[in-house]
Symmetry: C2
Subunit: 444 residues, 2 copies
């Protein structure tokens, strides 16, 4: 009795969910974050879910991928990968025109920026388009087996995943739309200096139980952010802290900052641009470095290791090519003796379920995973995840363990259609408010 | 509906199968090869099969592992790995005494020689004891899903696996037992020089369809083996050739030989002992090097790459820690741009099924797999594999796709009990026939 389960249909639904006005190294988060919900249907009647970024580059690659995988067997995910790689390399018949303006560095990790706005041209595009489809295929396989998805990766080695809070500088409210009207403030209030960040951290800890915390930096002059980290350390002496200046510093500034924060940070993420810059910083300071900008595919790891630039790798199945390739990444980290943490963009419950299964199955997950969770107040799943004690349980139901709330999906798709945002553009958003703002790397 | 499938019993049956008197760099193959058949039973009624080496070291580690995994869920193979790692690190209550004599280098890859004869003490011991149990667990998972095992590794990317013939210097017959009586000669006849090796190669090609061929060398003076390879090349101009002198050469000899064979070999396996020796050879010659002696766990790869010692990795799920870890190995090879081939010891149909599923699922398998197959004439499975066109199909039945022939298992177990061999000892066997023989590495 061989069960054949062929893909009959892949549906991609772009959605938008509300985001607070979080400041980033490239500007300000717009009022909505874009995501794509992927549904894979099979002739066996089972449907699987996946989720990824919802900008035009990813939607275009997903369209190509969806056509390429029709008729494929959901158990043959490597064949699916190669179908997608061939199809995205060829590109769609009518490729969208290249993006007219440079893309801010934070719009997506660096490997992808070269192809933004155009059809998928690289292995990376295949990795990104494959990821949500692989998740959906494994969701189906898990459902068919009556086992949680993580069991297809070797099974969980832990049942609870710890997360690190994402502390963010932010405005009280979005400036609003027509007429410059200011939108209603969110409950978090503004955070523009050490005191308000400490208050935000307290709310994160009290409300969600986080222990580790990561500050999104690269926004204010380095001395202000160093002071903020010291204030957090003083207020929370036993909470692991991370700082991500998002390549907004020169290597010299980064070395100065790392020395000022010596012994305070568990790791420092992307303190300077480029692998050379990271290596320069790494050789001068004791704090381990991580990078979600320069180490985002397997080919990046050997040079990162040989230059001793990073000691912590940030997994993220959305761009490391799905869940099984992320398990390979974990094996590579073990081989090199690298630390392993998990990067997180704003996302919904489908991606959260996938990353919980992954985090549960990785033996050498050496840090709490990053999450944007409390900043996200909407979802498309019937079983939204709620943090208690800074952790979430690995889902134990068959497959991914989440199901679609069709009303919520329709609402967030309407929100996508209505919001007018088609690509993340923190810089453009801030420039509409402050035309003098200019983004550039290594600002300080 | 979550299906829980707990291990209720692990049965380890040592078996012995007949082997021709193949000459090796450490002596001569004894009349029997030892293997261990592993059966994993579950409370769900499904049973899985695995197979590995049957010497005392492996049987001892398997006994420890079998006790450690009782009650474990067959879907939680990483938990099973950690149970085995803990248990083998602790060792059994009554450890066998250390082996009294040095072990020839070919008895098993180098990482393991330090613990031969004693209880399992290293990560490698865990990898080796885990491997057949993981195969059995995946066999069960595949059966439960109604899908071939390879689908649990991402599914096959090819349906047929090509193999390389193992050409061997050999005697006409084993010298026999009591009274020095010579056993009946096998149909292959003796092979002690170029002409008889060419005849052996012709029989391998005509009978089994092999294309690539590998000569087990390190036995006769290098000039004789170089002449044999040239004779093979002259007789078979279009057949890829490999040579494995099994570290019987000094680096200087290996460099001389590689230059004599420039352009003739697709790769040269273990031409000299030690990573330093391999690197010295690699830097001097154009032929890619491989090693099944110095690169047998993930931690060996970074130094092998940084010294440029090897360009081809030899996978073997028996010592690389099972099937999923072998998939990780494949990812590592892709990351480093290394070639990937597959090592093979003499084994039975259970291991053949496992390696076919693995070879089917590895995208970057860049060479035909090694096999000792035609030298093996007995088996324990109901569906023995027969070569046609030098290739075998990836099994398509659920799970491993093979079942135990209980009569054959009983017969080969009786053979194990009766043969008196408990550890592979090519050197001791040859010394009983020729007391002047002494084994040492880098003989020439």
């Amino acid at each position: 009795m061989e069960i054949v389960t062929k893909i009959t249909k892949v549906t991609i639904t772009p959605v938008a969910f509300a985001s607070p006005p979080l400041l980033t190294a490239a500007g300000v988060r717009e009022p909505y974050v874009l995501r794509a919900v992927v549904e894979v249907e099979t002739d066996a009647g089972l449907t699987g879910l996946g989720e990824t970024y919802g900008d035009e580059f990813h939607l275009s690659a997903l369209d190509v991928a969806a056509a390429a995988v029709e008729g494929a067997d959901v158990y043959r995910t490597e064949e699916i990968y190669y179908r997608i790689r061939s199809a995205t390399a060829a590109g769609p018949a009518s490729a969208p025109a290249p993006a007219p303006a440079p893309v801010p560095a934070t719009a997506m990790p660096p490997g992808a920026t070269a192809v933004v706005g155009g059809p998928a041209k690289s292995g990376l595009a295949a990795d990104r388009a494959f990821s949500p489809i692989e998740v959906a295929c494994l969701d189906i396989q898990g459902q068919a087996a009556g086992r949680p998805l993580g069991d297809l990766l070797g099974g969980p080695v832990r049942d609870e995943i710890r997360f690190a809070a994402c502390l963010s500088y932010k405005w009280a409210a979005h400036p609003g739309g027509a007429g410059g009207k200011v939108a209603a403030p969110d409950p978090w209030g503004p955070a523009l200096g050490p005191d308000s960040l400490v208050a935000q951290a307290k709310a994160m800890i009290d409300g969600y139980g986080f222990i580790a915390m990561r500050l999104k930096g690269g926004i204010f002059p380095p001395e202000e952010e160093i002071a903020a980290v010291h204030a957090l350390r003083d207020a929370f002496p036993y909470h692991p802290l991370r700082l991500d200046p998002n390549a907004a510093w020169t290597p010299a500034t980064a070395i100065h900052a790392a020395r000022e924060l010596d012994g305070v940070l568990e790791y420092l993420e992307d303190p300077a641009p480029g692998l050379g810059g990271l290596a320069e910083v790494a050789h001068a300071v004791a704090t381990p470095l991580a990078s979600s900008r320069r180490v985002v595919e397997l080919a990046h790891i050997p040079p990162a290791v040989s230059t001793s630039a990073v000691r912590v790798i940030l997994a993220d199945h959305h761009y490391w090519g799905g869940l099984r390739r992320s398990m390979t990444l974990a094996g590579v980290c073990e081989m090199f003796g690298l630390g392993l943490s998990m990067h997180s963009s704003p996302h919904l419950g489908i991606s959260m379920a996938a990353l919980l299964h992954l985090a549960g199955a990785i033996p050498n997950l050496t840090y709490a995973c990053d999450t944007h969770w409390p900043w996200k107040t909407e979802d498309v799943v019937n079983e939204p995840f709620f943090f208690a004690d800074g952790a979430l349980d690995v889902p134990s139901a068959p497959g991914l363990g989440v199901t679609l709330d069709r009303d919520a999906l329709a609402r967030l798709h309407e929100q996508y259609l209505a919001c007018g945002i088609r690509n993340r553009d923190d810089t453009g958003y801030l420039r509409r408010i402050d035309p003098s703002y200019e983004w550039h790397e290594a600002r300080w």
